[in-house]
Symmetry: C2
Subunit: 338 residues, 2 copies
């Protein structure tokens, strides 16, 4: 449902108000959309870029007029957990989804710890990539790091949604020489290859695991990203990983149960959860600014925010990889950003 709400205002002196330039629909928004997770009239959306319109008295690092990208978790970026690189578990964290950014203006708590400004106003073609950095790129990046993707590593990615595809991009950028993407959709396979995948496996589950073993002398991949969140995808990820290898999981787990005996026998490392996107934003924004990476390619449908419902349908039916939403005061409806 799209409705009109009161404009947000500064509540805490650490808040900023931004005018949202673009927002989007996250795969995780589909869980409540489908009714799997309870949602009571919440403002959906937690990914955003925008321009700062107002700042609280204590905000020091962003100023009015700055173009900013924010993580989907608001964080102080100063507590012990943040300093260890886990801003998504900040002791003062607030999930942006609870505030909502799929509207024209948004209140961003802990602005200094949450937002990163670009050097100048970005060219229009950079906006989708900057928006991707807000969640889906940062999440894929974290997954690849959690899986310890890097030079000399064979990386496999379970899940061909936007996060999985951007984990492919991350693995490539981190130096992995061989990247296997699981996908049975031609358009997603194409984007995976464009982002750096060297091999595509169409089989799933145990059949998919056999294919990974065939490509890795029977050992399994060094690094496996799990970007779905189901029991099958988690088992596929663990089984596809060699002993001593690393599984990075970022799919929001729903009804997943990991047998302790399996994990014991497997000898894999398991790490994941909500990505500390804020940790990576400075580096990722620079890579985008320099046009080294083009994560915005995951947006294959752009709609005005008033048509958000159609965007949810398109993603749910897998007609779109990821939907970019433009606010109502941007008089532009683009067909595709690709």
């Amino acid at each position: 449902m799209v409705e009109t709400r009161d404009d947000p205002t500064i509540v805490e002196p650490t808040d900023a108000i931004i005018r949202v330039t673009a927002t989007c629909i996250c795969g995780s928004d589909l869980w409540p959309y489908r009714g799997v997770t309870d949602v009571d009239h919440q403002v959906m959306g937690h990914e955003y870029v925008g321009v700062v319109e107002e700042i609280g008295a204590q905000v020091a690092t962003v100023k009015v007029g700055d173009f900013v990208v924010g993580s989907f978790w608001a964080s102080d970026n100063t507590c012990e957990i943040c300093r260890a690189g886990y801003q998504s578990h900040c002791v003062h964290r607030t999930l942006m989804g609870l505030i909502g950014t799929q509207s024209d203006r948004a209140r961003i708590p802990l602005a200094d710890g949450t937002l990163v400004a670009t050097p100048r106003q970005p060219d229009a073609d950079l906006v989708p990539s900057l928006l991707a950095a807000s969640d889906v790129l940062g999440t894929g990046w974290f997954a690849a790091l959690a899986a310890q993707a890097g030079p000399g590593k064979t990386v496999a990615v379970v899940g061909d949604g936007a996060v999985g595809l951007l984990a492919v991009l991350a693995a490539k950028q981190l130096g992995a020489p061989r990247i296997i993407a699981f996908s049975r959709h031609p358009d997603r396979q194409r984007l995976a290859r464009d982002f750096g995948a060297t091999d595509i496996i169409e089989e799933r589950g145990d059949d998919g695991v056999v294919k990974v073993q065939e490509l890795t002398s029977g050992l399994g991949a060094h690094s496996v990203v799990e970007a779905v969140g189901t029991q099958e995808s988690m088992m596929q990820a663990i089984h596809a990983t060699r002993p001593g290898g690393h599984v990075g999981f970022v799919g929001v787990a729903h009804g997943v149960s990991i047998p302790g005996e399996l994990l014991f026998r497997s000898g894999v490392h398991l790490h994941g959860g909500p990505a500390p996107v804020r940790q990576f934003l400075p580096e990722l924004l620079q890579l985008i600014w320099d046009r080294t990476i083009h994560p915005g390619k995951v947006f294959d449908l752009t709609l005005p925010i008033g048509q958000a419902a159609e965007g949810y349908r398109a993603m749910d039916e897998r007609r779109a990889i990821k939907v970019l939403l433009t606010p109502t005061d941007v008089n532009e409806t683009r067909g595709s950003s690709r």
Copy 2:
């Protein structure tokens, strides 16, 4: 049951035959002892030190007369998995328990990859510590490493059996300034403090977790060792770990199920399984040889191998932390090695 079997002989050119100087009962031997795991007349025991009596034609790194310590997994130490440090998952691995070392002589497969010789025949007082290196120390060491114990870290250890106690020793040796041991047994608490524990928590489960949080500004420990293998101990370990922290689990999991949602929310790293003891043997033997560490203190009961049954009872009833067994041709029955 203690019975007489034929002496083992060289089967493969990579085998060695050792005369077992000492062996012991492992906590994991208690699972089949209790009937939780099926065992069909297997030779129990997988921890051993001894003297090489015969070598196969291809054995190059140990020679007849060497005093040797071996890992409980025989490994080639040359395959890709071994070279990555995961000898317990060697593509040619053989679990020593299937061959059995609680007898006077034992055949050791892949001798070059499995055994490490001491510089000379050891003094008698070093033998228990060298025996501990064969499994229980190596396992505690791996758990501490998997939990990333080290300088600046608060480490908590779930489980006050020999492995947990030696994980305390490992954490101390690895430089951890604060080490919390969970234990409600005065003798084990004493040994934990002797090995380096700075704090003891008697509470278990959620109550134990609350105590850890009280000691860590509400954040949880950086590094938690799970050395039991039950659902309760695994949950206690995960809940006691701060976001971004590390759980090293080496308790042989029995009926454990890890909820994916919990693991996702927790943000912890999870790694464990059968310890690649062989990786650590050179370093650990040197530390023992130099009398820097004294892991043999975990043996608080020594029995001739003919009385192994009493040893199992004593460990099962927690009257003994760990039982050292001397072979029948060693005419010495020591009361305690401590």
